[in-house]
């Protein structure tokens, strides 16, 4: 049996490409107005809860300041990003990847079990869960697939003035347009945080085998 089925592998790499382009073009968009607000409106420092630093050009797409070009990339990659996520969720539910590998059990939530998991992680022993993933892995993947990535789609829709006449309830649910914009920013950096930890743990747990498994599928006993 393969460690990662084809649908997971395709989505994983497509999503990586989308997230990188969206994040880097998003930094250019952030540079256009570096203040974040809560509520419906806000336009200067006195209303802002955060002044974001200016991101240097090398971190951004297109590599120089152009709000128009950054928006072009952003609204293009939003499509494969959102549709890919929808596809992954449908695939995960149909092929039972979600139920089998990602749902946590009540037992795993006991403080003692969580602590043991943290200790094992600190010892760089990652293969100690009952199923394919240990508790912290399930929690991380669950948060990313269930909250971080979908929140980018929902908060993105909520910022879009052409969507608001139909999805006004979504804007209200997120606390107004400027709150939605702040959440879009916060979850983008939550995804960056996941990305850094994820890459670090792949490097610590045999990067060649991990990469091979996510490209060719690998096999369950190999990992």
């Amino acid at each position: 049996m393969k460690r990662h089925v084809l649908s997971t592998r395709i989505w994983h790499w497509l999503n990586l490409l989308c997230v990188v382009v969206l994040f880097m073009s998003g930094l250019t968009i952030s540079n256009a107005h570096r203040l974040l607000y809560w509520g419906d409106w806000g336009f200067d420092r006195s209303q802002a809860w955060l002044e974001v630093p200016r991101f240097p050009d090398w971190m951004t797409i297109p590599g120089y300041y152009s709000l128009a070009v950054a928006r072009d990339w952003h609204i293009l990659m939003a499509w494969p990003f959102a549709l890919g996520l929808l596809f992954m969720w449908i695939a995960m539910l149909l092929n039972r990847h979600f139920k089998r590998d990602l749902i946590t059990t009540r037992r795993e939530w006991r403080p003692k079990a969580i602590w043991r998991d943290i200790v094992e992680h600190a010892k760089l022993n990652f293969d100690h869960g009952e199923g394919k993933y240990n508790f912290l892995q399930k929690l991380a993947y669950g948060l990313v697939l269930g909250i971080f990535l979908p929140m980018m789609v929902f908060s993105g829709i909520a910022i879009s003035p052409g969507m608001e006449p139909t999805f006004g309830w979504l804007v209200d649910l997120l606390g107004g347009r400027q709150s939605a914009r702040s959440l879009h920013f916060i979850f983008a950096f939550a995804i960056l945080g996941f990305f850094i930890v994820h890459v670090a743990l792949v490097l610590l747990s045999g990067p060649i085998g991990q990469m091979r498994a996510m490209i060719t599928g690998g096999s369950t006993h190999e990992a």
Binding site: D40, W41, G63, V69, D72, I75, L76, Q178
Partner: protein, 246 residues
């Protein structure tokens, strides 16, 4: 330091790759197609009459920021400011059977719509204000659009960086009930920084579509021969999306 160097190099290589893609014909077509997919999706999901949110009067922002042109000095504009816009004229022309020329008084006497709406700038900020003026549809009906008319172009008095500002929308947004020619902000005549004496409100799109210092409304069959051909000042100058509902 080494790690940062590696990241910067990887970032630069990735950005260079993206820019290479954008420079190819297929890449450029893909990037501009995405704007049309969004517009198509919005039009599919949203009723053409669906309204942008309207707020209670108490939600009005204490100050309404101006952006782009905030005090035009070109042409006759300073003289109009001095005259209190007594001689301002708005023309409605192009592909119409009955061209119009209206004074501010004519415009104030038409049936009015007041709406407290949120203005979203492409840069990211928002402000809420109460706008008052006649619906654009009233003027277009009075002028009797020709069947060939596909777009409505807004001509403006301000010249920004050497080019006259203009904007355009399709007939769906032109006939939208919240598309008004505003002469008042929060119950007062429009301040100069917000487009005195007349500006458009295109409530389901970003701020750069809301043409200020409005002098003319023109019905056209195509945007190819208007300005730089992209449908608006920022579209021509910087490549902004013509459909600014995203």
């Amino acid at each position: 330091m080494k790690r940062r160097g590696f990241l910067a190099a990887a970032g630069a290589a990735f950005v260079a790759g993206c820019n290479k893609v954008a420079d190819t014909d297929a890449g450029a077509r893909l990037l501009s197609a995405a704007e049309k997919w969004h517009m198509g999706a919005h039009r599919l999901l949203t009723n053409r009459e669906a309204l942008a949110p309207e707020y209670p009067r108490s939600a009005v922002s204490p100050f309404f920021r101006g952006n782009g042109s905030v005090d035009p000095q070109n042409g006759d504009y300073p003289r109009h400011v001095e005259e209190g816009f007594a001689n301002w004229q708005l023309t409605v022309g192009g592909l119409v059977r009955n061209p119009l020329a209206l004074t501010l008084d004519n415009i104030r006497r038409l049936p009015q719509r007041s709406q407290v709406t949120r203005h979203d700038c492409v840069e990211g900020w928002s402000a809420i204000g109460e706008w008052t003026g006649p619906q654009l549809s009233l003027l277009l009906d009075e002028a009797q659009l020709s069947p060939e008319a596909q777009f409505i172009v807004f001509r403006c008095a301000d010249n920004l960086n050497g080019q006259d500002y203009y904007e355009s929308v399709d007939l769906i947004d032109a006939y939208h009930p919240q598309t008004i020619i505003a002469h008042s902000l929060n119950g007062e005549p429009l301040p100069v920084r917000n487009g005195a004496p007349l500006r458009m409100r295109i409530e389901r799109q970003l701020g750069y579509k809301h043409a200020k210092y409005l002098t003319g409304i023109e019905a056209v069959a195509s945007l190819d021969d208007v300005g730089g051909g992209q449908g608006g000042y920022w579209e021509d100058r910087a490549g902004y999306q013509w459909y600014a509902g995203i």
